[in-house]
Symmetry: D2
Subunit: 345 residues, 4 copies
């Protein structure tokens, strides 16, 4: 199957290419970049010299649909909302990595994204692609809204305890930390080396567009109307996200009991690995891979659960989960093309 | 005044020397290192070549007291507990940077530090040197237990709202992040470059020895018996601590109101700077300096306050606050020798 | 084919496991660590949780030979010299990643390595595994001395111009820069995070054990007795080596002419990529991959050639080239198991 | 004395402010930024909150001259060339940190800088401010062209051996490495965090505008017409420059002899520190300070001298040397305001 990639010069696209290249049933098809059309790929990314030799092309729906079997949109929010409907209408499978089709409510979208929402019809058509949770829906979907990086780590970390009805969803606090690649290749003072290196900063308190996405998933899955406190921090590293989530337990539980519950929850999901009590994953332990590793600690003094959940923001938080969803949609083993070992150190 | 420094080859001692060197009323006196006695200082630290030319000496109480006017102990926990009493008994002013004399209870000490506690008598004599809060007690003290790095950032961040009786002390969660220099110069896999670079890890969940220290200060100052949830993370940078603290407000307050309260609380304390609403300090903004910068955000949806508090762990979190305490003990302006601009970038 | 890995808890072994895991004809066999025998692998390396589940075993020649088809020695210099002969004598294929069998002269070995040399017999038996240059010898070899990281980057960068007889081998200067993972997982102040981060240092001037190795290759291939100037620097990054080599040309040549010569030299070698004139590779452009990327510049004012040659020290500089040599020894396509795209960013 | 700073929002200006703030005879006067005029300084640089409270002003020669006693131009090349002459004509002392007035030849300037040269008259008036070498000329100067960062480290490293007539100036190779802050605060893909972190790249081979500057100094001081080979590399760190220079000796000399020669050369220059044989400075050992530290190694096999010379690019390579020159111009001790200890770690 030929996979088209739109938004070809961003980090999301680059990671899709890295992963598709190792996938036995997918191959890199058209790579679209309107701004760089005609240029050779390796001019922007010399690491692809002699590997990806094709020129970048401009967005042309007819050709795209004719020459490819599936389309990955690695375009920014506001761009996907325009391109995706055209492609969906043509009947080709579409996986959108932007935030444009993740929220069901146009209102919520406009409140948090600060520009106009996609059409209602497509918001309804899109299936939220949190692979471990919505496997059934994804299997029959033609259009996937691939989850955000923070929401992936946060939801996978929180859902087992919430769905077991053992935690008070009114007490959820998510302290999130991300490497800088999450902000993409666009230039900005907040991605400027001398400002970020040897520095740690909090940003967008109470204003991050991933807040309503996380609340939507947690509310859907618990039946409550969940409101979270969510803080994001920029860490001086390129890849990796860590979520440290806090929630009050509604029963006295030991760390071991909670670990068992998580292990059971994810027993058929090879990409989620739960550490034994007393051990906590670090971001490097999943670097370059599609794993989400989770560590758990119950403080017996406060009966509060602390959840550490780490992913590679460009893999499980973006391109990897997109491939995982393509695997599910095509009834391939979920690990297909995603079974490489994290790069350590 | 001649200042002796004990524990002369650790990062705490090095930072004391850097700061004392610029202090108009203090000069570097004896520098003690039992393991390196006789060696030239710049062999261990070539950056001090032609600046500090004296040899390291071994610990000799009589000589130390005779040749110096104040002693800074930059020794590890378990070592200070042995050296400090001898010095205190001789009547010389002592400022201990270790954790040995910070907790008033021997029991608590042994629970968290896992070795035997110092003698009760000296635990009682020691004044806890959180400069902004205990200025009066420090002024008349002869023996200071200099606060830990995390407790300094956490206490300065939390006390204004807690002392105003506007927050529920049962809901305090502190998500702490530190650079690697906090772990000192001792070799360990958790300070090994290839393990730490491009990595983020959580450690010592529910087990960090700074937990009882923070709880003691917050309990003392609020009159409640405060129990906190505290998580520490290791960030790939050398210097800097950030505390992200969460607490439920007991009244509806706006971010601006809370900012005013903090500004008022610290109006006579030049080293605490409160950012305006919507702005949050980053660790680099205090690098190399004695500032503690604070940013605040009230989420109107949950009425929860998020507090960002940053310090340089080696300055305000160790050597700088020690000098600040020496200034207070000697009735010098609190800024003496500490007025340099943070090194940015 | 089952591949045994000896020295199982070092970075070299970890990288071998990462690569062998993706190799279609090799699988991870025994993993030997005398110090950790009996322990589970993922205790030392949690990133391998649920991937490599076998326990580490101790060194037992009989069992090793019986249960495996090829042995990779990722042991330090001085250990390989003892283990390799035993294995070679048993007739199993051996690839040694240490420096023990790279120099033909026992004298030279002892001068630079400062401990006693392996037996002459095995020095003679070992084939130097610089894959692109000694493909023929490797094909029929049973015992490979896998090249050092610096010698790989330096030799691949210098040999085309030297073998073309267009450069004066008396003027070779190699300014080498390496990430910190090259020093391994052993603890040392020179791998201590706070000493290395935001720092750049030169080390072992004129004393690095890779000097005689590079000189041996360059002398062998040119017929001259080559003496180089070689300086190594430690760069604050985990992976990557860059060689900046300088040599006087013996004829007036343009950068383009030299580029053509290099392209021709490596036309049948997929892992060496020559950048066009005016472009120079960065280390990240080969990260995690087996590529050696080369950039060239002739300064017309001095007629001196500057060569930039980059590799990932743990891949082409160690484990990757070892797999490449296994491919050659077994008549598999040289790219087998090594065709993944560099991880960027 | 009031010091005006022009180009107020760049890293050069920020570093000038940090240093002037500690200077006993200088105080921060007008801070000029045409693009940010009217704004408060700490909006761009929150680390200056409560320290520098004045607003940025626009460029107004009359007012500048009236309200200040000396002017530091921390403006980019091409801007200084326009502003400096106006100020010089008014008779105020001017120290220009840009490259505009360093080259005496308009031709050379236009060849390397690729835009039109300043007027001849001012090129002639400007004194090249390499403090250790041109102290006499600086003392009587009114207009200083402050040296570039690479030329400072390179010249101080090479001049002692060249001026002693013990090295062959035709064989000079300078392999230079710099942290990223040297490129300033302007946005560019080559300062983008995810592109630079965990990466090492060579740039501008044979094309760097510091080449003619170094050649001019070395030629002036040796009487030869010196042509160098010069390669620049970008290192993943914020501050620091290391020059590794290579030159053939014309006599057999030991490392110790060369060390003596360097120590003698710099005996009256407190900011240059020569390491003993076998030791080499790292960039962190001068971080935040005005030191230039030098290490030396003679390879007896090739009789080639390797010189390691490190500076903090923002201090001795820019703002620090500018203050040093102000000290010399005003007959103050050269160390005034520059005597702080490097920040380590």
């Amino acid at each position: 199957m030929r996979a088209a990639i739109i938004g070809g010069t961003g980090y999301g696209a680059i990671e899709l290419i890295r992963l598709i290249n190792k996938h036995p049933y997918l191959e890199v098809g058209s790579v679209v970049s309107n701004s760089q059309a005609g240029n050779n790929f390796s001019e922007s990314y010399p690491h692809l010299t002699k590997i990806i030799n094709q020129p970048l092309v401009s967005f042309d729906v007819e050709r795209l649909v004719k020459e490819n079997d599936i389309v990955f949109l690695a375009t920014p929010s506001g761009v996907s909302s325009k391109m995706a409907p055209e492609l969906v209408d043509k009947g080709i499978k579409v996986i959108d990595l932007s935030g444009d089709f993740r929220l069901r409510s146009q209102n919520e979208y406009e409140t948090w994204y600060k520009h106009s929402a996609p059409e209602e019809e497509y918001l309804t058509k899109a299936v939220y692609g949190l692979s471990e949770i919505y496997e059934k829906e994804i299997k029959s979907a033609a259009f996937i809204a691939n989850p955000g990086c923070y929401p992936t780590a946060a939801s996978l970390g929180l859902l087992p305890i919430l769905k077991a009805n053992l935690a008070d969803s009114k007490t959820i606090i998510i302290d999130a930390k991300s490497g800088v690649s999450g902000a993409g290749r666009g230039l900005s003072l907040t991605s400027h080396y001398a400002e970020i290196n040897e520095n740690l900063k909090a940003y967008k308190l109470g204003a991050h567009q991933h807040i309503p996405e996380i609340e939507q998933v947690l509310s859907d899955e618990t039946g409550d109307s969940v409101t979270i406190t969510f803080t994001t921090h920029l860490v001086p590293m390129t890849r990796g996200i860590m979520i440290t989530a806090y929630v009050n337990l509604t029963e006295k539980l030991s760390t071991n009991t909670v670990n068992d519950l998580y292990n059971k929850f994810y027993e058929n999901h090879p990409f989620v690995r739960v550490r034994p009590a007393g051990a906590y994953p670090s971001t490097k332990e999943v670097s370059g891979s599609n794993y989400c590793d989770i560590g758990l600690h119950v403080d017996p003094r406060t009966n509060r659960l602390t959840i550490i959940s780490v992913i590679d923001n460009l893999v499980k938080g973006a391109a990897g989960q997109a491939i995982q969803n393509a695997n599910i949609m095509n009834d391939w083993d979920v690990r297909t093309g995603l079974d490489s070992i994290p790069m350590y150190p």
